[in-house]
Symmetry: none
Subunit: 224 residues, 2 copies
DNA sequence: ATTTGCCTGTCACTTATTTGTCACAATAAA
DNA sequence: TTTATTGTGACAAATAAGTGACAGGCAAAT
C-alpha cells in the first residue's frame, strides 16, 4: 500500500508536532513547514497528496499559499483557522480549499477529514471512476453502465463528472451551475433540473441515482 | 451550563466509587455499571457524553464493549487498564478508544483527560451533529435515527438544525421564528407549534425530544 | 449555402409536497 | 372550575420539482 504524502504547514510548533505525530501514527508520510514560503517550496519540489494549512502564518499566510497552489494543482487542501467565522469559511472555499477545520479541534476530527479527502481524491484523480455499476473512463471520455457504453451529451457528461466528484453530498443548484456551467454563467437555475432529468433518464438502469433534496438541490448516490 | 453524562464501567467497586465521587464533585452526571453488559444497556438507553471503561471485567470485557459502542456512536471512550503494555494501548486505539489510562492513576490525571475529551467532542465538526441517537449529516443533508434515515421537509430540517445548535436551552417562539424563518418573517407565532408537532412525530422513536416549556416555548434535549 | 441532426436553455403546465392558519381538543395552572 | 396555554387534525394556498415541447444554436455533411 502506498503511503500518501501529507504536508503540514503550521507555524506554531507545538500544534504542528502533535498533528505530525498523529499522522505518522496513521502511517502517512509527513512533511513539515513552519511558514507559507517553505510550504510552497516543498510543494513544488515534492509530490504532495494533501496539505494541511494554517491561515495565520508569517511569510505568506494560508490564503496566499492556497491561491498559489490552486493555480497549479487540485491537491486536497484542509485549512486550519482559529476563528469560526462563516465568512472565513466561505472565503476559504472560494479560494479552493476542500475542507475547513476550526481550532481547537480534535485529532480524531482532523484525521477523519484527512482520510475522507484522500479517499475522495483517490477516486477523482484516477482516470477511471466508479459509482455503483457506472464506470467513467475519463481519458476515453466514455461512460459505461454494467459494461455497456451509454451515450451522453457534453453537458450531461460534465454534470455526471461533477456529481461523481461530489458523491453523497447535497449540492445546491447554484453550485452545480457555477461548477458545470461556469461562474460567469447567467441563466435560469432550473436549467439544472432539465439536465438532471435527461441524465436521470440515461442512467436509470444503473445502481446510482440522482436524489432530489427538496429545498436544496440534488445528491448523487449509489442506490441503497 | 449543561452537565455532561459520564458512564463509569468498572467491576471493582472500591475504585468505581472513588471515580464516581470525584466526577460528581466536579459537577458531572454520573452513571455506574459494574460490568460490560450493564454498561451497554445504559449506553443504549441513556444519552452518554463520555465513557470510562475498564478492560478487565466479567460479562463482556472492555474491548467488546468498546467495539459494540463504536458501531453506533463516536462518544469519547477512556480505557482503564492494569497493564501498561504498549500493545494494549495500540489495540485500544484501533478499537476506537479516545484515551487510555494505566492503573494506578491519580484522579487528577483522569479528570484532566475527561475534561480534555469533553471539550474536544463538544466542538466536533460542523458537518456531523449527534444528539442522543439522532445523527445529522449536514453535508449530505441527511438525518438518521439509530442508523435509519428519516425524511424531513425543509422547514423541519432547519428547525432541527436550530434546535440541535441550542440543545438544552429554553427557546422562545419569537427566537425560533426569527432564526428559522428569518427576522423579517411576519406570521403567527403558533406556526412554531405546528412545526414542532410535525418534527416531534418524526423523531418520536429517537432518544431526543422537544420538551414544552410552558409560557416560554420549547427545549430540545436528550431523553432522561 | 443549405440541410440535417443533435444539444441546449427556457417556458408552461402538471404533479407532489410543504406550509401556515384556524378551530377545537387537551392539558396544565390558578 | 375557570383560564391560559399548548396539542392537533384538517385544509387551502403556496412552493418546489418533474416533464414535454419547442425554438434557436451549432457543426458536420451535402
Amino acid at each position: 500500500m502506498y503511503a500518501p504524502n501529507i504536508l503540514v504547514c503550521e507555524d506554531e510548533e507545538r500544534l504542528r508536532k502533535i498533528i505530525v505525530k498523529y499522522l505518522i501514527n496513521e502511517g502517512f508520510h509527513v512533511m513539515e513547514a513552519e511558514n507559507g514560503k517553505k510550504a510552497l517550496d516543498f510543494f513544488f519540489e515534492q509530490s504532495i497528496d494533501l496539505i494541511i494549512l494554517d491561515i495565520m502564518m508569517p511569510e505568506y499566510d494560508g490564503w496566499s499559499v492556497c491561491r498559489s497552489i490552486r493555480q497549479e494543482s487540485d491537491v486536497p487542501i484542509i485549512m486550519l483557522t482559529a476563528r469560526s467565522e462563516e465568512s472565513d469559511r466561505v472565503f476559504g472555499f472560494e479560494l479552493g480549499a476542500d475542507d475547513y477545520v476550526t481550532k481547537p479541534f480534535s485529532m480524531k476530527e482532523l484525521l477523519m477529514r484527512v482520510k475522507a479527502l484522500l479517499k475522495r481524491s483517490s477516486n477523482i484523480s484516477q482516470d477511471e471512476r466508479v459509482i455503483g455499476n457506472i464506470k467513467i473512463d475519463i481519458k476515453a471520455h466514455k461512460v459505461f453502465i454494467g459494461g455497456n457504453e451509454i451515450d451522453l451529451s457534453p453537458k450531461e457528461y460534465d454534470l455526471l463528472i461533477y456529481l461523481s466528484q461530489n458523491k453523497d453530498l447535497a449540492l445546491m443548484r447554484e453550485n452545480i451551475l457555477d461548477k458545470v456551467w461556469g461562474y460567469d454563467y447567467y441563466g435560469d437555475l432550473r436549467t439544472v433540473d432539465t439536465h438532471v432529468k435527461r441524465l436521470r433518464r440515461k442512467i436509470q438502469d444503473s445502481t446510482a441515482k440522482i436524489e432530489t433534496v427538496r429545498g436544496v438541490g440534488y445528491r448523487f448516490e449509489v442506490k441503497a
